[in-house]
Amino acid sequence: MREINFRQAIGEALDEEMARDPSVFILGEDVGKMGGLMGEIGGLYEKYGVDRVRDTPLSEAAILGAAIGAAITGMRPIARMRFADFLGVAWDEIMNQMTKMKYMFGGKIKMPLTMDALTGAGRRQAAQHSQSIEGMLMSIPGLKIVLPSNAYDAKGLLKTAIRDDNPVIFLEHKMLMWAGPKSQVPEEEYLIPFGQANIVREGGDVTVVATAYMVTRALNAAEKLEKEKGISLEIIDPRTIVPFDKETVLNSVKKTGRIVIFTEECQTGSFAAQVAAIVADEAFDYLDAPVKRVNAPDTPVPYGVVLEDFWMPNEEKLIKAVEEIV
């Protein structure tokens, strides 16, 4: 099988879906000639033309507003929002419009709208270009949230997102976009359904729920723990935050009796808290140890190597948490 990287996965998914369905179109800043901030969608503008690959003014509220108006009248827009940090300037479109209209209108519309945005730290981009905001997004009912950890999943999930009749945000971790490893990916089309977690690594001692770039770090930690201490981690990547495949996680906890939730967000108001709460309720009788979370501290993301590396969750922090409960 051929290998592609995360960026190529994005480009291919968009290309295939645009070829397949003429109602799909892209709008956003620098999507045209520039082909995306990292050239990840290079060629689409040339292939599909200015109508379907639309550079916009720097007007995020208008980008999402326009996407909403187009979505409810028969189109299938993909709004490329660059950094998730920028969503604040179009937050009402997300929290009050695209996610509420169907419900408020008694179910009588469809909202097939996909957004994508870069997430995460690690590139020394400081507080306004590094945030993980899935916890904030998660509190908006009506939104589906995709957080892939590798190129293979990214391609299959993005195609599913575009075909979904609901608003979906697809979050691309910077460390995967810039320098993530390649995945083996078939030539043939494939889709990955939402709400199906991936058991990235099987193990018997501790369940680790990890997302996005933290999956890579969890795998590193697992190897080390296995080799050095004989502790075996079962690593689960939910892939979609909403819908969340809680069964897979609960089943794993029933087996291991222990769980650490390992995500890059600030701890307060995180997806990790949500998982912890579900486990503490629904798998309580199987738990042999406190429910642990390894996340970032409750601060903005600092600039620079020293501070950002200290801030980010990493292998050592995960190992420490695991050792506390085994």
């Binding site: 179109f25 909403i68 009050n96 008694g106 009506g142």
Partner: protein, 319 residues
């Protein structure tokens, strides 16, 4: 522009129907049949009526929190509206949305805006959609003078201009955003003066005169339909009641209110049509009577309709 007799009567009928609907809502609200808040369109009927008269059924409108008039003008069914206000299962939104959130895509009503100004970029998107789908559908986007100060006014209108989209932006300038007068939010004489910053026509029109609105909107809709891009129309108008039902509106000077009440768009138009011999007193009476009966019927329908099942609350978050 000479407007045909039948058209004039139709305009009048629509205005009367809006007025009677709103009066009925005021009464039902006072009697406790309508929960939540309602914002009435009384005094502003000429704007929705004159503008929407140019639209086809497959054209779109984007409405506001003060949206009942827009919906009636676009062909909305007062029974389904009233049922929605009564929070009944038979309402436009199954009783889930209420006064501020009625949509009906089959007649081109894209929704109202509980968050002031939120409709502006959405209307731009409907215009984009029409263009991409290769139709000649036009979208009219209504919003208030208050909304003209929110960021989306700027972003949404600019984008429609840059992309030359078939959208007509209609600012219903009723001089007040709740208790804040335009003198506290606008340092130019007209909201329409801002159109120049987007390179589109800005038109000021007497929003108490349905014929004036009809004329201005006619040009703007035709321009949009021809693919020549958006227009910003500002209709100077006035709300005759409080901001919402229950608001005494004491912040507005009495004299100002009285002055504007004299300019009642419905009554004055009736007198004008009678003078023009387009309408007889008797016909006017019939139109009025029919509207009253229609609204009685709407209330009856709403009253007799069942509430939704409680579990309906859990449905339709996702497709």
């Amino acid at each position: 522009m000479a407007i045909e007799k039948e058209k004039l009567k139709e305009l009048y009928r629509t205005m009367v129907r809006i007025r009677r609907f709103e009066e009925r809502v005021a009464r039902e609200f006072a009697e406790g049949n309508i929960p939540g808040s309602v914002h009435l369109y009384i005094g502003e009927e000429a704007v929705a009526t004159g503008a929407i008269a140019h639209l086809r059924k497959d054209d779109y409108i984007m409405s506001t929190h003060r949206g009942h008039g827009h919906l009636i003008a676009k062909g909305g069914d007062p029974r389904l509206m009233m049922a929605e206000l009564f929070a009944k299962k038979t309402g436009y939104c199954l009783g889930k949305g209420g006064s501020m959130h009625i949509a009906s895509l089959d007649i081109g009503m894209l929704g109202a805006a509980g968050i002031v100004g939120s409709g502006i970029p959405i209307a731009t998107g409907a215009g984009l959609s029409a263009k991409l789908r290769g139709t000649d559908q036009v979208t009219i986007c209504f919003f208030g003078d208050g909304a003209a100060n929110i960021g989306r006014f700027h972003e949404g209108i600019n984008l429609a201009s840059v992309w030359c989209l078939p959208v007509v932006f209609v600012c219903e300038n009723n001089l007040w955003a709740v208790s804040v007068p335009t003198s506290c939010s606008l340092s130019v004489p007209n909201v329409a003066d801002r159109a120049a910053g987007y390179g589109i026509p800005g038109v000021v029109v007497d929003g108490m005169d349905v014929m004036a609105v009809y004329e201005a909107a006619g040009e703007a809709v035709a321009r949009a339909r021809r693919g020549e891009g958006p227009t910003l129309i500002e209709a100077k108008t006035y709300r005759f009641r409080g901001h919402f039902e229950g608001d005494a509106g004491t912040y507005r000077p009495k004299e100002e209110v009285e002055e504007w009440l004299k300019r009642d768009p419905v009554n004055n138009f009736k007198e004008k049509l009678i003078k023009m011999k387009v309408l007889t007193e008797k016909e006017a009476e019939e139109i009025d009577q029919a509207a009253r009966e229609e609204m009685d019927e709407a209330v009856k329908f709403a009253l007799e309709s069942p509430f939704p099942e409680p579990e309906e609350a859990l449905k339709n978050v996702y497709s």
